[in-house]
Symmetry: C2
Subunit: 352 residues, 2 copies
Amino acid sequence: MKRVRLVDVAEVAGVSTKTVSNVVHDYPHVAPELRRRVQAAIDKLGYRPNLTARRLVTGKTGMIALAIPEIDHPYFSELSRQIAEEAARRNYRVIIEQTLGKLEAEHAVLEDREAGLVDGIIFHPVSIGALSIAKLHHDTPLVLLGEGAMPATSDHVMIDNVAAAAEAVQFLLGQGRRRIAFLGVVEDDVTFSTDKRLLGYQQGLIEAGLDPDPGLVLSVQDFSSEASGEAVRAALERGVSIDGIVCRDDKFAAGALRACAAAGISVPDGIAVLGWDDTAIGKYTTPSLTSVAPDKSALASTALELLTERIDGFRGVGRHRIVPHGLTIRQSTPSVPSELPMPQGEPAVPSA
Amino acid sequence: MKRVRLVDVAEVAGVSTKTVSNVVHDYPHVAPELRRRVQAAIDKLGYRPNLTARRLVTGKTGMIALAIPEIDHPYFSELSRQIAEEAARRNYRVIIEQTLGKLEAEHAVLEDREAGLVDGIIFHPVSIGALSIAKLHHDTPLVLLGEGAMPATSDHVMIDNVAAAAEAVQFLLGQGRRRIAFLGVVEDDVTFSTDKRLLGYQQGLIEAGLDPDPGLVLSVQDFSSEASGEAVRAALERGVSIDGIVCRDDKFAAGALRACAAAGISVPDGIAVLGWDDTAIGKYTTPSLTSVAPDKSALASTALELLTERIDGFRGVGRHRIVPHGLTIRQSTPSVPSELPMPQGEPAVPSA
DNA sequence: GCCTCAAGATACAGCGCTGTAAACTTGTAT
DNA sequence: ATACAAGTTTACAGCGCTGTATCTTGAGGC
């Protein structure tokens, strides 16, 4: 059962292959009668165009690669969904590449050893540095995500992490908390994200006239929620006085919640806990989690906008976009209204 | 900056394009000296083979489609990860197609309007029926996942849902529970999965000599954890006596947990709660969730095994494989050891 | 010294499609 | 009637690669 080709349809319909192609593509200048005849032949034979052949001649694959550390990490799976849907809207398909944050895999993403597979790449780097990106990157259009490396040569989208962290601190301060901890510095492996968030945390305190207490910066063994729980438990045991925790991400916040529960401390009454990323995790914890909420939808649409512009021929230095963030307020912080206004970050700036 | 082609390399190296191709493919019969020269030219020019062209001539794309309802549902994202990793091991790339369980999208998956995009499809159907699958399915190799439609003509992989549900019931019975409820029948929309699990639940009770109480089958408005919580709350308010709940999935279990907490009922002391799918959700709830655990890794490897066999030419009627399941025991069920042995389901049957 | 054979290298066709340009067919203005 | 524009259809090259068949070369056997 050989696959039906354009020529087969053409033969049956008694026209040239190009006319069949024109019908397939809804080219306007085809006589109605012919169009009908060709369509009948297509239906009769069950013709389906061979995408690979089309790609070879057009040079467009209609696919983009999404390279992320972990498919099944809630933040990335939720982001992937947004990106996949936005891509579908623009008639692109997405192929997901999992790097596990490994340098080797991240190199592979850029080295892109086989060309012509995708029209562009959306890449959330973890380990690789800006220099390596600039060096390894070929001419495949690329948009970077996250707070990792951001070489000036590449397009890049993220939220304002520093501002968001400062706002998170302000939010807790506005509820009367004064001993606010930051949870999330993994020893010997300070990621860019953690760095920015920690900076914002300190900035928020300073702006409020408070003196950041180094003893309130809690470091964690690894990226598991167990380790973060352990860090909080240890701090509590040391007798560190804490009435609020800003966490590097929701996983860490979940660990903090457990540690508080184990120590018999009520959340949010005793300690307010604030997560980051607004993932589904926050809906399932007890209490549910207040969390810094990157606008994932804006992240996705901005990334695709930049990427498609590059695909469509834009050449220029790297553009850096900040997309909005908010705060999803749930049970892990007090429900008293904050007196402080909550700025929402700069709006995304769609280019003209 | 034109892309470097095989002919460019050939010209620089002073050989035929085929020889370059042979070097690229590590074809053994190439003289060492020539190989060196060609490799030097490849490196110098930064040649990367054009996959699309290769595909056109070989007819293989090296890609498989994974069609699932929701990318960001924990079960599917975890399963996707397994499948992506297993596929990578076999040198396939995965392109993820999200159907949202919509009939139209599911049709599109099978109609596969553009051929030559993927070598095979792994599909977890929700809405589409067996007949439609059989009717719409072209010749692209296909493996079905889940408890949905399973036409005799297609390969199919799942766990033994009936057995797993019966075992879950037995597990609770073994801990002395007698008023075990089933949570998860969404009104007017009984999925195949729910159906099977409900059947196993009833079977488990009957096998233990108990009479299933219809009042213990709790129906839920929709697939959210809020709705499931509401269903449990309502049952409790009606005064239904319950000491254990087997839930259709972890989301529903999370809702049940909340409802119990709200009603002041301790889990697992008052009511034991058992989820399904062993997703990450279960790690973040309080208490953490005991859950029926499909062997996702086996699911993935079996699906890929069947699929690659088809891709490699196997023609035959649909094969149906059952992969193992277990029970991940956490805090939402009592920690007393069960006296009943916990069968683990049939092992996966790798074909010869 | 001649023949055979395997390894090494190549020429060439063609995978299935679309872009280009050219050919042909009307309809309309002159 | 004639020219010309607009609408319609087609021939053909070629995207970049690999499979097949073929050719070349040098070693080994008699």
